[in-house]
């Protein structure tokens, strides 16, 4: 009786949690641009000046500036990642004026040092004194002073030009700053107290180590800006995306219902338990999605629905095995014990081999292949949890509670059972 109570409690509890939270979980799933419209661009970066090489730092810096620029256009959550040694992938969902955003992104990042020389009082730093190309390539570095502060050492190409600029700015006190801009964003505005007649200078300030490194990277990037070429683009209209989402989710719902009906009709009691576990599995998978912040794309939905197929397989293997044991004449209890035990190894072997394939896709694949692999891996893990351990727990509880007395509950006819 206690076992029956435990069974009912677990079922009611998990059904309650699933029902209560599913609308929240559904709405929280992050949709990819193919499902809600937007565009994806893969850029290849090359130095604008010939002869330079693309360093990891400058690539990351370019990616950051792309993200900042995309954000500035008001789009929501641009996704910018670097790939390999010279590529940047940008994904932006839900854009209204795509061409404008693409134009803004394509421009190389421009580093300028500006002063307030000859500017109206409300115009801030309007005069461009130095450009990125006035700095030596990879000339900037971060130093730690003996006071444990961080400073950035910069190297210029021309000492004469720098002397002239600093002399003029020093006169402007209290507006004697040489402000550093990347595109139109001011990064820092160090004071220039006197003429610096050298091609080397040091920027001090209350920098943390990370801030100093960022600024150094920006200056180095400005000295060698990267040109971006579009190598792959995908752009999806918002209406088309929504249509794809509706159609595919609809297909998934029909497919799932058909599978669950089949399971219940063919496997009876274990089929009903399997169906329940599959619903919990879908719920957990979506939850896992939100937790790892994965983006659901069309191939992702496909992986998802096929993942359900694999989850069903785990249940079928166990149910089939239990039926087999019953036909050989064992009691319901010992059939369930032996069936679960024997099927476990088979299911694990099958899952591990699929995991190997999924891991390879994850590490080797790019773009949508990688996304597909993530969903496949997640679904394998959750499938083992729900369709092996959870469904076994439920089946064990209900069988041991003693209310299951007929083998026909398992889809086994008495005539098929042989004497032991």
């Amino acid at each position: 009786m206690n076992r029956l109570l435990a069974f009912i409690l677990i079922v009611v509890l998990s059904a309650g949690v699933v029902a209560g939270t599913s609308s929240w979980i559904f709405n929280d799933v992050k949709l990819g641009l193919d499902l809600k419209g937007g565009f994806e661009i893969l850029y290849e970066a090359q130095p604008i000046e010939p002869g330079g090489t693309v360093t990891k730092d400058s690539l990351v810096e370019t990616a950051k500036s792309l993200e900042a620029r995309a954000n500035a256009t008001g789009v929501t959550e641009p996704e910018v990642t670097t790939e390999g040694s010279n590529r940047i992938r940008v994904k932006i969902a839900g854009v209204t004026d795509e061409t404008k955003v693409r134009d803004i992104l394509k421009k190389p990042a421009e580093l300028t040092f500006r002063s307030a020389r000859g500017c109206a009082a409300d115009k801030g730093y309007c005069k461009v004194e130095l450009r990125g190309s006035d700095f030596k390539q990879n000339g900037a570095s971060v130093n730690q002073t003996n006071l444990n502060a961080y400073e950035i050492a910069i190297k210029l190409k021309s000492a004469k030009q720098f002397a002239e600029v600093t002399r003029e700015i020093a006169k402007l006190s209290p507006n004697n700053q040489l402000a550093i801009y990347l595109d139109e964003t001011q990064l820092s505005a160090p004071n220039v107290s006197s003429e610096i007649n050298s091609n080397e200078a040091v920027i001090t300030g209350n920098f943390t180590r990370d801030e100093a490194t960022d600024l150094k990277n920006t200056i180095n990037l400005g000295a060698l800006p990267l040109k971006l070429t579009e190598k792959y683009t995908q752009s999806v209209g918002a209406t088309l995306g929504k249509l794809s989402l509706q159609e595919t989710v609809w297909a998934g719902v029909i497919g799932t219902i058909l599978i669950l009906l089949f399971m219940m009709a063919f496997y009876r009691l274990p089929g009903i338990i399997a169906s329940f576990c599959i619903i919990v599995y879908i719920w957990l998978l979506l939850l896992g999605f939100n937790l790892i912040d994965a983006t659901l794309t069309l191939p992702g939905i496909a992986a998802f629905i096929l993942g359900i197929g694999m989850a069903v397989d785990a249940n079928i293997i166990m149910a089939e095995r239990i039926k087999e044991e019953m036909r050989s004449g064992k009691s319901i209890l010992s059939s369930q014990k032996a069936g679960s035990k024997h099927s476990f190894r088979t299911i694990i072997d099958a899952h591990v081999t699929t995991t190997i394939a999924a891991l390879v896709l994850f590490f080797i694949g790019v773009g949508s292949v990688k996304g597909f692999a993530v969903i496949l891996l997640l679904s394998i893990i959750i499938s083992v949890l729900t369709n092996v351990f959870f469904s076994r727990l439920l089946l064990t509880l209900i069988i041991r509670s003693g209310i299951v007395k007929k083998k026909s509950y398992f889809g086994v006819k008495e005539s098929e059972v042989r004497a032991l």
Partner: protein, 310 residues
């Protein structure tokens, strides 16, 4: 379907092992046909594998009667004569050259203004270099995955099972590729994902039968090669309901995607569907029989006596 549990396979039941040679021949014929069509037609590469731009426009109006008008519109507006397919609610334009973003915008706006205000487009543009890279990347992934599976199966089972499993999964992948070549279906990046999924399923399907053979081997008293052959046949029969039911459920899922799913994943679902059927076929009719052939080679004397060693 009734099957015999742990007992003997009753008389009159189909013998999967004795008839193995017909399935081998059948598969070899299909494979050869695939090699021939691949040699002649190659694959119909979509934009992901061949540089250019693909524009997919979902329309609310039925434009099937206006194909000529669309063609004329494209010609008049400096878009050349790209391949054009006009369906009931979808217009696809395939350019062999890469569309610049200005042209892309002009096309989208121009089309919407002239034909359907509610048109919504998907544009894919790929550079040749990236396209080639994707292909080699995918091929490499299949190779690495196969090696990984061989190692795992060799450790858990034995190397003969690994060889048989790999042959049958490559068989499945190849059949799908051949079918796409025969029917000239378009191959894009999701196709690669489909092939990789098929490989995952095929191995999943096969492993379950191998597992049963291994289990039965543990308790069986094997004297002759005929005993092994009988054991393989029994193992296939014992797992048959599961093999069929599992593939049926996944086929239902894939068929739903194909019928009700969005246009963009139709070909993906079709590839999966082909692969599932082939995967079920190869795991029931090819894989274990192949293992048996390898196993019999181990004891050449016994193999002579075996009627199944074809």
């Amino acid at each position: 379907m009734r099957f015999s549990g742990f007992g003997e396979v009753s008389e009159g039941k189909f013998d999967f092992v004795k008839n193995a040679r017909y399935f081998f021949i059948f598969s070899i014929i299909i494979t050869v046909l695939g090699v021939i069509t691949l040699g002649i037609h190659g694959l119909n590469y979509g934009v992901d594998f061949k540089a250019g731009s693909n524009v997919d426009i979902a329309v609310k109006k039925d434009l099937t009667g206006q194909k000529d008008a669309i063609e004329q519109y494209l010609k008049d507006n400096d878009f050349g004569s790209p391949a054009l397919t006009v369906g009931a609610n979808r217009v696809t334009v395939r350019f062999d050259e890469v569309l610049t973003d200005q042209k892309e915008k002009a096309l989208k706006e121009g089309f919407a203004a002239k034909f359907d205000k509610e048109a919504s487009a998907e544009v894919n543009t790929v550079d040749v270099e990236i396209a080639k890279e994707l292909q080699t990347n995918a091929l490499y992934a299949v190779l690495v995955a196969s090696i990984g599976i061989v190692i795992y199966v060799s450790i858990r089972f034995e190397w003969r099972f690994a060889i048989a499993a790999i042959v049958s999964l490559l068989h499945d992948a190849f059949i799908v590729i051949s079918l796409f070549s025969i029917f000239k279906l378009e191959v894009n990046l999701p196709f690669i994902v489909a092939i990789l999924t098929i490989i995952g399923y095929s191995i999943n399907d096969t492993i379950v039968i191998f597992d049963r053979i291994r289990e039965n081997l543990r308790f069986a008293k094997i004297k002759t090669a005929a005993d092994v052959a009988r054991l393989v046949n029994e193992s296939i029969w014992q797992t048959l309901t599961r093999s069929i039911n599992t593939v049926m459920t996944v086929v239902v899922a894939a068929a739903c995607l194909l019928i009700f799913g969005s246009e963009s994943i139709k070909l993906f679902s079709l590839a999966i569907l082909f692969g599932l059927v082939s995967g079920a076929y190869s795991s029931i009719f090819i894989a274990s029989q192949l293992w048996l052939v390898l196993k019999n080679k181990q004891k050449p004397k016994a193999a002579v006596k075996s009627p199944a060693a074809s």
